[in-house]
Symmetry: C2
Subunit: 341 residues, 2 copies
Amino acid sequence: MKNASQTPTIDDVARLAGVSTATVSRCLNEPEKVLEATRLKVREVVNELGYAPNFGAQALATNRTNIVGAIIPTMDNAIFARGLQAFQETLATDGVTLLVSSSNYKPASELEQIRVLAGRGVDGLLLIGRERPPKTYSFLRERGIPFVLAWSIDRQSGNTHVGFDNQAAASNITEKVLEFGHRRIAMISAEREGNDRAADRVAGAFQCLAAAGIAASDIDLVECAYTLDAGASAFSQLMGASKRPTAIICGNDVLAAGALGEALRRGIDVPGEVSIVGFDDIDLARATAPQLTTVHVPHRRMGSAAAKLLLAMRKGAAKPRSIVFDTELVMRGSLDRPPAD
Amino acid sequence: MKNASQTPTIDDVARLAGVSTATVSRCLNEPEKVLEATRLKVREVVNELGYAPNFGAQALATNRTNIVGAIIPTMDNAIFARGLQAFQETLATDGVTLLVSSSNYKPASELEQIRVLAGRGVDGLLLIGRERPPKTYSFLRERGIPFVLAWSIDRQSGNTHVGFDNQAAASNITEKVLEFGHRRIAMISAEREGNDRAADRVAGAFQCLAAAGIAASDIDLVECAYTLDAGASAFSQLMGASKRPTAIICGNDVLAAGALGEALRRGIDVPGEVSIVGFDDIDLARATAPQLTTVHVPHRRMGSAAAKLLLAMRKGAAKPRSIVFDTELVMRGSLDRPPAD
DNA sequence: ATCTCCTGTGTAAGCGCTTACATTAGCCAT
DNA sequence: ATGGCTAATGTAAGCGCTTACACAGGAGAT
């Protein structure tokens, strides 16, 4: 019985092209093993019918889905959105599609998502950061799912990662702040719980300050949500202190932009009265006035590199080398010398 | 032969639990149809083995994947990233996962992606905008894939959509610009080709201006890429004209922020010398100085609503009602009266 | 002319589930 | 006791692909 008006199957193609299903399959997957004439004929029928292989069947037969998963804290954050876009584009060049899920910075939720994606048979997984419960890692190992960590580096564990040294970069920009002559320095950071990037950045800054003889107890640190508004109120809080800082190091550009906006609203001159620096160099950093001095992170390149690694692992490369990207300090207008008085 | 140390299959569970595979399957999918004692025994074995159904096999047998796809122009755009995040969160509440792909505003590429996702057996599809080649729609129909259009409305075709009236909203903000007394008005828009949102916004503005007696030929329109830099150069171009506009209506906040930044750099006062308005109300709109007067669009609610519709369609609802969201004008600092001279 | 070897193609056995249908057992009404 | 139901479970036929293996035919070596 012909299955007219149904989704065509490989059998339909084989019948109409006058070949076996094996040949059709080969035409699609290993065209070089098939005579040109046959190939052309098959292609013609495929087009005519609008045939596309059934996914479930293919997955079942090959034990491969050509789907890679990514679990990120949230897409509603330019750095991940941008990296993910590049990640997806790179996967697409190899015919691999992207399944995304979000954890909202919750390790428990992340494990849950990993379970779901594993259930969907992903060929590999992109995970953000290095810190997670051992349980999560053991699940990944048991299932034998290749994964790469991104946005952080992970020297201890030996897991494959594609990232940059948040701590060193933070230390670096802090160094620059010191060079400008600042001594009263405050910090605004995103929640560090479940976010090793934020934690590393704070650690990097503190370490640099300690080396310069500034004790941790002398540094005001406000930890808050990852939003403009939170950055704004953190700024208010810091400037309400008895001894105002002359520079505020922010854990990311969103917080920095929020702080900057609040400064403007309160008529506090940046960088005249207080300097503000960010981290990430997202678009936002160039839209503010003054523009943000910040740390440039190659988010797109990271996403793309992570995809390439996963693609390689899928083809057998057991444990490709990790990749560490350099970051770059970009000097713009929001950092200058402290006020003279 | 026992397949020790392999991924356990339903057969393993059946054997160890002393029941048939059918019973195991029922325990997992329709537990109420199975005796409690049996159910318990099976569950025990499932846990012990860490059994999880093979995705491909399940998809093949049921012809369902619990995967929904989304094809958006790019994730590297806050409006889509934000909407997509909400979309994914809502899908997740029903155990559905999200496959994403991007079209880069290219209709041909979009069809290609649709083909790929269809090949992945998605249960439904989220598409951005209404305009696409008939070929694309006919493919969707042939395959019987439920889909919803978002970010636009689509009155003619009767396709299910979740969006807002770009044209009316643009007309609305233009009206407000006129109210402030502006007569020399220019526009910066993203490329309209393959982007009906951009086209609608331009059309809405032009229509409103026409109604006020301002001819299209008197309106400078610059069409450019969707970036800060492009917005900046478009601004330069407009301000280099013999008769400078007193107000610039931008098709989105990114372009508006780009223009605003360039104004600042050139020492052109906004809104003193020229007013600038945006569209979308993304975070960026509040990070600039002055903040952008713009049109607020409920991106998250749209994403979430689209997910709910798709979820309903998956459960049989043939063609749920479309949803049209209201937009809201938000007055901030970048729009004021034209200069007196 | 015969034997090998290759190349291109066909045959058919799975891959691991779901589900229509068959079977069995227990219950109640007669 | 018998028949008819119902509820719980089992049997086995797919679902649509891939791929190991078998096979045929032609080219080249002998």
